[in-house]
Symmetry: C2
Subunit: 275 residues, 2 copies
């Protein structure tokens, strides 16, 4: 059976915070001629709202500690302000967007992260993606726009990492669709030299990645991102692209498969057989 | 053709602001054995958020002046905090809720209110209800939960009165459904004596209403509410009930038609033939 294409694009604060960049990205997104899902973050905006409300944002290794007051802020900023602004802007471009959280139609059910040495508060780790209802929306020609808020099906909203939501959507929908996952971040791709934006690695397989890690040319925050990406590929996601805000535009007017600029991640033959 | 029943319930801040009342209302709502839509307000909560952010809420005759900063607040509070909290709570009760604004799927298209002697700012007056897409959601067994935010299809979100959204949904859906509209507010119904909560008028037709107005037993804020309600009846809404938070519970376990406590508004025979 030939599966239909599905494109899942995650955009971060570098896109949603800049009016011009956002306009360009949403325009490119609208022109993708496949069923598609947008996932957004918005941490910077949430930080600014916390400050305006005299709530001090608390983070451990970049991960937010979500106390009750912070949960209210992220629910307002992610699910209200950013999500509905994106939805209205996509509607203006004739993309039939629908803004969603994991609570809507129980699309993403999570549990409150178990307390370890750190109590992350109302942070949610995903349990179930409701593939049937997402597919129902896609079949009606709707374009889901996900805010990084989930729930526990017991009435509690939870703050969940947007990168993880995008990856979990891609993994869970790859049985039904040929799924491409695109991380649109603040660099034009994975760089061989972090200081040189022209040093984008166009394609990287798992073995290349291991070599880059060993040589130290890939380090820091890219490592968890790439570990998660390769895990998603191993779980059946067809294609993962890491790119900048200009990377989601299509190179070809009527492509048969999605084509983006940036770094295309692939499994090498041995790895893909192993899983 | 016998139309299916559809119940549209509007709840105000008196319900969403009180945890216990809200739990009871959502429980009653969940048990209504018909397709249903919830519409919520949240002005009090928005006022408190404005104050926390040092934005002074401005109102003329109870209607909010929505400047750009206030629009951000109402989008956050209505479409984010209140809408997603209600959605998560309904999901916990196994009601398959989906939180929406008018921007989602272009469900409610509005225009920025034309400046008269008062500039209401980003206030939206409704132009089009997208009946087809609402019906698509209802047919899938989903329960729409509407925040009082619409858009102009040009990328601008707009603040729109929740009572009006509920009435417009009821009027526009009455071609497809036998529509009951329930306003759940802070009194148990329309009172003959505003100081006596036991003086609920159980049923009132348009002629009764005119008499009550003439005698002065109905006055003030009830008049625009009732004028709008009778206009909706004249436009084909089957039934309108004005009740308190305990009014939406069903009297009968398996009713053939919706039965609520409170004040049932009807057109008299002459009026209903006239339209």
């Amino acid at each position: 059976m030939i599966k239909n294409q599905l494109i899942i694009i995650k955009i971060g604060g570098n896109v949603t915070d800049n009016e011009e960049t956002l306009r360009s990205v949403l325009n490119d997104f609208t022109h993708i001629p496949f069923p598609k899902i947008l996932v957004h973050g918005g941490g910077n905006r949430a930080d600014r709202m916390c400050q305006a409300l005299n709530i001090i944002p608390q983070k451990v290794e970049g991960r937010r500690i979500t106390d009750a007051a912070t949960l209210e802020v992220v629910t307002m900023v992610y699910a209200g302000l950013i999500n509905k602004t994106l939805t209205a802007q996509l509607q203006a471009l004739n993309c039939n967007a629908i803004g969603l959280t994991g609570a809507d139609l129980n699309l993403i059910q999570a549990h409150k992260r178990v307390k370890g040495s750190i109590d992350y508060g109302f942070a949610g780790d995903i349990d179930i993606i409701n593939v049937e209802n997402i597919d129902n929306l896609l079949k009606l020609g709707f374009t889901p726009v996900f805010a990084p808020i989930t729930h526990d099906k017991k009435g509690q909203l939870l703050n969940t990492n947007a990168d993880t939501i995008a990856a979990q959507l891609a993994v869970n929908l790859c049985k039904t669709y040929q799924t491409t996952l695109i991380y649109c971040f603040d660099k034009p791709g994975v760089l061989l030299d972090p200081k040189d934006e022209s040093s984008v690695i166009p394609q990287m397989n798992y073995q290349d990645y291991q070599l880059h890690k060993t040589h130290g040319s890939i380090a820091g925050g890219m490592i968890p991102k790439l570990d998660n990406a390769f895990a998603a590929l191993k779980s059946g996601v067809a294609r993962i692209v890491i790119c900048g805000s200009k990377g989601i535009g299509l190179r070809d007017e009527s492509p048969k498969t999605p084509q983006q600029q940036g770094t295309m991640l692939t499994l090498d033959t041995i790895e893909s057989h192993a899983f």
